[in-house]
């Protein structure tokens, strides 16, 4: 894990114009559970992030996300999800009005549930994303993007067995970034 983080930091630090930036985003997500599990979730999400890099090259982003929960999948009273993500962003500069980007990373999070044995279920995620920055000036830009996440949840303890669930999450979002 340390090697991965150091590697990502090295890549981003190699770019001479790298800058620290912060941003926030808001979006909607759809979650479909895999392995024939008939369960879906649709919710709003919000994200705060801090990154280091350039909007037309590489950057590394650390983000905290909040995901609303309107579904009752793990219990009759599933709560919101809170997550943390680390992603490497590769942006491109085609001398057009936008800077397309791709990103990949991973994350982890949890949601509180009301089950007899478990009160919290943790999850990990593998993240892929794409979108574009819309620069306003040197310091500000909008961000429009799509994220795909593959979530693996901690096993649900039924005493007789621990049942693990996985899901595909599609997120569409808009955001705003401030670069220093």
């Amino acid at each position: 894990m340390k090697k991965i983080i150091l590697f990502l930091l090295l890549i981003s630090s190699l770019y001479s114009d790298a800058k620290v930036y912060i941003g926030s985003s808001y979006g909607f997500l759809n979650e479909d559970y895999t392995n024939g599990i008939d369960a879906v979730s649709s919710a709003q999400m919000a994200k705060l992030k801090v990154g280091y890099g350039d909007r037309d090259a590489y950057a590394i982003e650390f983000s905290l996300e909040y995901i609303e929960n309107n579904s009752k999948i793990f219990s009759a009273n599933d709560k919101e999800k809170y997550g943390f993500n680390v992603e490497l962003v590769k942006a491109l500069d085609f001398d057009i009005m936008i800077n397309p980007f791709f990103k990949a990373g991973f994350g982890a999070g949890f949601l509180n549930v009301e089950r007899a044995i478990q009160k919290t279920i943790n999850y990990s995620s593998f993240n892929l994303g794409a979108g574009f920055f819309i620069p306003l000036n040197e310091h500000f830009d909008f961000e429009v993007g799509y994220d795909y996440k593959y979530l693996t949840y901690e096993g649900v303890d039924t005493i007789a067995e621990k049942i693990s669930y996985e899901s595909n999450v599609n997120v569409a979002y808009i955001g705003f970034n401030v670069r220093f």
Partner: protein, 205 residues
């Protein structure tokens, strides 16, 4: 134009993603209770062991085997010993409360060990040398009679005879001469009516 197309695609994705459904019924029923499947189980003091089983009950009315998942304990290890749900008597009679637990769930059942009241060596007569099975049968305080004793019986013999036990079955290798075979159950010294050992003599010419 490209910006317009991209924005249109993303807004369309936004629309569809925002219009998703939500599951309203949990996909995994919650645990409502756990229980020992046998109500007030009993065991004879000389039985090999009995296997108790446990189940988890769920809010949707279903249940599942949880025998190997729950923690098993009993209140009187001087009466019975336990390994998981396997129970074996270690005393000639008595009671113990057998319990299971998992997280905040638990269940308890009273377990009775039926006392051996008398016994006898039931092996067939032996009049030649060789290897022969040994068997004893007994009567219990629940009015069961002629039950084969499997555990908590000790066999001894003289005249050079050797006794071996495999799979709870005792065998004797007997030689020429008079051989005294003694069966002893529960060497209890602190009870008012211990069961006396029984000796049987086999003669081989």
């Amino acid at each position: 134009m490209n910006l317009f197309k991209t924005s249109f695609l993303l807004l369309t994705a936004f629309f569809f993603i925002a219009c998703g459904d939500n599951t309203e019924t949990p996909i995994t029923a919650d645990v409502s209770s756990i229980s020992i499947d046998q109500t007030n189980p009993t065991i004879r003091s000389t039985d090999a062991f009995i296997n108790l089983t446990a189940s988890a009950q769920y809010t949707d009315g279903t249940s599942a085997d949880a025998t190997t998942k729950v923690n098993w304990t009993n209140s009187n290890y001087n009466v019975v010993s336990m390994l998981g749900g396997a129970v074996e008597a270690v005393a000639n009679g008595g009671e113990s409360n057998v319990s299971i637990s998992y997280a905040d769930f638990q269940d308890t059942q009273a377990l009775t060990v039926h006392k051996l009241t008398s016994f006898f060596i039931s092996s067939a007569d032996i009049n030649t040398t060789g290897v022969f099975p040994l068997e004893a049968k007994g009567n219990f305080d629940n009015n069961e009679t002629n039950i084969t004793l499997v555990k908590n019986i000790v066999w001894t013999a003289n005249n050079g005879a050797t006794i071996s036990i495999a799979d709870n079955i005792a065998s004797i290798t007997i030689y020429v001469g008079d051989t005294n075979i003694t069966a002893t159950v529960f060497k209890e010294t602190n009870t008012s009516s211990p069961i006396a050992p029984i000796t049987k003599t086999y003669t081989v010419n």
